[in-house]
Amino acid sequence: MLLALLLLTTLGLTVASAPAAAHEPLRTQIDELTRQIAADPTNPSLLLARAELLRMNEQPQRAEADLREAQRLLPGSPAVEIVRAAMLRDAGRLIAAERQLDPVIAAAPQLVEARALRAEVREALGRAQDAIADLDQAIAQTRRAVPDLWLRRARLLATLGAAGEQRALASLDEGLRTLGPSPALAELAIDLELRRGATDAALVRLDRMMAGLPRKETMLARRGEILAAAGRTLEAWVAWSDALAAIEALPAHKRAAPALLALDSRVRLALRDAQDSEPSAPTPTPTTVRTAP
């Protein structure tokens, strides 16, 4: 949205009423913050909040004045520089944003938020390696389990060719060991294994993830699809029949969910196709309940 507005401004396009309408709530919020600042003039957080709204409202000089005042109230704090960097990032001034963050991180390398922000900026600049370096530090410094940091790093690594994919998988494994069975990390690892043609490795990961799930029908169907894509039709048939059995074992209201109905159709279709291509495959029946592999 913000980028769209910036583009409109850059291209000199005018929209008669929409901007005014869009900015009306901004002015309301700025007025409210101005009232709060009048009552609490030494609260830097109010100034920082108003600064961002002012910038959005195309009042950069007033925004900068608020930032300077916040800086005066927060001597020695990198907060204002980080806020300024975030504003620059939002404005698409990525190089300036990075330059704003560099001294902050040099002075306080443990600031996870600053690291994560610079990683975003560097990624947007197309410098994946530098972004990864910041995420490495953010992950090392964070006191909390933040799966998104691991996910972002792995996705960036995976853009760096085969070696990057290998590093991404190692990173995901490290994340899974550190965090536990994060579904997002596990699913990305499966995708990466498949991308490099390692079907068995993907299946091992899928089975590991499935073991921790109370519901397995989706994973069983996925197993069938992976096997089918690898040309292992009979094994795919087994996985799909397991998926079908798992679906049929669900309560009626679960089976009636559109997602389940779609999955059911998909599995049945896959089974039929498998049977057509593999005449030896038996016809699935409700009694072909199998335990998950």
Binding site: N43, L111, L179, L213
Partner: protein
């Protein structure tokens, strides 16, 4: 992922950095420093002679007539004793056997606050130590009565101070007063060539509970008990079925001020009383108001009461009023679980703010009700020791309370009976559809078998209060992102109720499905039931599936006025009720019925609605779900000063009546009752009750009933 997306996020960030730079609001980190009551090398009064100093020499107030004074170590025959040497008589082959020492010390402490008491004792050869006349230690001395002539077993001091625990003597101490310590030293032989006495007396205070106890991460078989003490100590929880009968215990030997003990192997749906303390003894609890109730077995349709507060943490009179109003409303009814919708402690969620706005504000409630919370934009993280939202709480990241493991405390799920609760993080976690939270959510919500699903997080998808969900500039577009990216997941898997804060108001929607754009994109197809959802007025919201039926609609509630109100236009079109009033939300789920009440700070129910799930399960007297073109509209000004005009349409001819009800569901007036032809009709209400009196200013409902169906509109009378 955008980690810093909005003014408010930056505000939190700024404050956390502010806190970390100038060190505001950090938790007390007092070390368990021992307190020395009598240091080494102190001055002692002593008696040395050929007899004992007289009966009662150990007692407080003993007249020390003829006693001398010297500085320890006192004695003779060693080069480290203080000169002059103590005398031993005239005959070196028949030296005096025993020596007596006394001094007083002031105890500036209540003895019940003392955790340990010990002496560091430099003595040669044998010794007995007394506090206020009662023996507390005996060293190398025979059992039985000790006299001046009693000889010691052999012992040499080598100028070392031997540690001896005399904690058992704590009850002998007198608080805020002078106490007396007395020591007698005995030789092994009358020819002993040395004698030594010096003593230090040290105590450590007992931990004092500064925060809590409070209950976290409950399941049907386990719960975490947390508290904070002012000095580090080990941790222990005693628990049992009744006060005074806490027969079980669990603990942790590690010294800490942030105590957390996980109790496991508990029986489901059972009340346990408990106490917390260190390995020495309980510090608090073991009474009628310190208990918890374990969750029911997942799937059991146990009647469940949940209390929901949002943006409460202002440490204000308003917050107190809302708290007290709920306490009164609840009465003796147990509250089974408690949800906080974020912004729990203003302005930045520092440790000090959490102490005042949460842990002190709700002290009695936190001891009894398990709290589940989500993070708001004012809840600080990475703010240094204890200034971090996640340090205050223990939330399930491994699926330990039900649901799929999220691997993070930022977002999680848990089961309570037949309800699956989902907590999302809209402040610090990516809201993208391929973000880690969305991936987890799809797995989690698809996996639940519970008939009810209730989701909660901070930023509302629909609001026109102090925040505006249509405004992409507001809150870093979080409200739009959650609406676009998260609601489709929830709708597709049948969420029933969504709870949010952020706007400091109460806004409650009708039964809504599939509305992911701004308010201008709302269409009739998204309205599952436009009524009030009130049994007795226009009937409850009915969802056909007793389970997670997809796309059957959900009710959205902004309950962010539990500490203050901040106004706004309060006219979002999905909302059937928008109030700039303090209050909290109460949920009661029993089987296939959910009742919700918004309880104002005056204790009145300012709004209510009911959701019923499953086919053919309407409660007796409730009208069926809407299915025809029966329609009712208010065609006069609203609010009205005198009365109101209504237009209504009947799909077919027949009997119809139009009544006026108050908020409590009492019928006040009948506007019309007759046989009507199919088509449009009009009726006027004078603003008077059936008795002819003008009704008071307030909110009323006009209810049209025909053909077994009802429609209702709200009428506000302002006089």
């Amino acid at each position: 992922m955008t980690l810093i997306q909005s003014a408010l996020a930056r505000r939190a960030l700024a404050l956390l950095l502010f806190a970390s730079v100038i060190g505001v609001g950090f938790a007390a980190s007092t070390q368990a420093e021992p307190v020395t009551l009598i240091p080494r090398l102190s001055e002692w009064n002593y008696y040395a002679g050929p007899t004992d100093p007289g009966a009662g020499w150990q007692m407080p107030g003993f007249p020390e007539t003829g006693w001398s004074t010297g500085t320890g170590p006192l004695g003779y025959g060693e080069d480290y004793v203080t000169l002059p040497n103590l005398p031993y008589g005239d005959d070196p082959n028949n030296k005096w056997v025993s020596y007596y020492f006394r001094r007083t010390f002031f105890l500036n402490e209540d003895p019940s606050n003392i955790g340990t008491l010990r002496i560091g004792f430099n003595y040669d050869d044998g010794a007995v130590v007394y506090i206020n006349g009662v023996e507390v230690a005996r060293k190398f001395m025979p059992a039985g009565i000790i006299t001046w002539g009693t000889l010691a077993a052999d012992h040499e001091s080598y100028d070392t101070y031997e540690e001896t625990d005399i904690t058992a003597g704590i009850p002998l101490l007198v608080g805020n007063a002078l106490n007396t310590i007395a020591v007698e030293i005995h030789q092994t032989t009358v020819t002993s060539d040395d004698l030594v006495m010096d003593l230090e007396l040290i105590h450590s205070v007992r931990p004092v509970v500064m925060r809590g106890p409070y209950l976290q991460n409950a399941s049907s078989s386990a719960i975490s008990v947390r508290w904070r003490s002012h000095i580090p100590s080990n941790s222990r929880v005693w628990y049992g079925s009744a006060p005074g009968s806490l027969t079980e215990m669990a603990g942790d030997p590690a010294a800490t001020i942030e105590h957390e003990v996980r109790l496991s192997g508990l029986a489901p749906q059972s009340r346990y009383y408990y106490a917390v303390g260190d390995y020495t003894a309980p510090l608090t609890g073991d009474d009628d108001s310190t208990f918890f109730r374990t969750n029911p077995v997942p799937g059991d349709a146990y009647p469940t009461r949940a209390w929901v507060i949002g943006d409460a943490g202002w440490n204000s009179v308003g917050q107190q009023l809302v708290r007290n109003a709920y306490a009164t409303y609840a009465g003796n009814r147990d509250t089974d679980l408690w949800l906080m919708l974020g912004d729990n402690a203003y302005n930045a969620g520092t440790d000090a703010e959490y102490t005042s706005s949460v842990f002190n504000m709700y002290r009695g409630m936190l001891r009894k009700w398990c709290l589940w919370t989500t993070r708001g934009n004012h809840d600080l993280i990475y703010g240094g020791p204890a200034n971090d939202y996640y340090d205050h709480f223990t939330l399930p990241s491994a699926g330990e309370a039900g649901g799929v493991a999220s691997t993070t405390e930022a977002y999680y799920s848990f089961d309570y009976g037949n309800i699956h609760f989902i907590c999302l993080d809209t402040e610090g976690t990516s809201l993208l559809t391929d973000g880690a939270m969305a991936v987890w959510l799809r797995q989690d919500i698809a996996a639940t078998y519970q008939p009810w699903t209730i989701a909660f997080w901070h930023h509302p998808p629909y609001t026109r209060g102090s925040h505006i969900s249509d405004n992409e500039f507001d809150s870093g577009a979080r409200m739009g992102n959650v609406r676009r990216n998260i609601l489709p997941i929830l709708d597709s898997t049948g969420v029933d109720l969504v709870l949010n804060g952020h706007s400091h108001s109460y806004e409650r929607s009708f039964l809504l499905n599939g509305h992911y754009g701004t308010s201008g994109t709302l269409t009739a197809a998204m309205v599952v039931d436009s009524g009030f959802g009130r049994p007795g007025i226009d009937g409850p919201y009915v969802k056909p599936t007793l389970g997670s039926g997809p796309f059957e609609g959900a009710v959205y509630v902004v309950a962010g006025s539990s500490g203050t109100t901040s106004g706004g236009t309060l006219n979002h079109p999905v909302m059937v009720e928008s109030l700039n009033l303090l209050g909290s939300l109460v949920l009661d789920v029993a089987g296939n019925r959910l009742d919700a009440h918004f309880i104002g700070s005056n204790g009145a129910a300012l709004d209510s609605f009911t959701i019923v799930k499953g086919p053919g399960i309407l409660a007796a007297g409730d009208p069926p779900v809407h299915s025809s073109t029966l329609a009712l509209a208010l065609s006069s000004a609203n609010p009205a000063r005198r009365g109101a005009r209504f237009d209504f349409t009947l799909p077919r001819g027949g009997s119809a009546r139009l009544d006026i009800f108050d908020m409590a569901g009492r019928r006040l007036a009948r506007v019309a009752q007759a046989e009507f032809a199919a088509g449009s009709h009009r009726a006027d209400w004078s603003g008077r009750s059936a008795s002819g009196e003008h009704v008071a200013a307030g909110v009323y409902f006009a209810v049209l009933e025909s053909g077994g169906e009802r429609r209702a509109v709200k009428v506000v009378i302002a006089r």
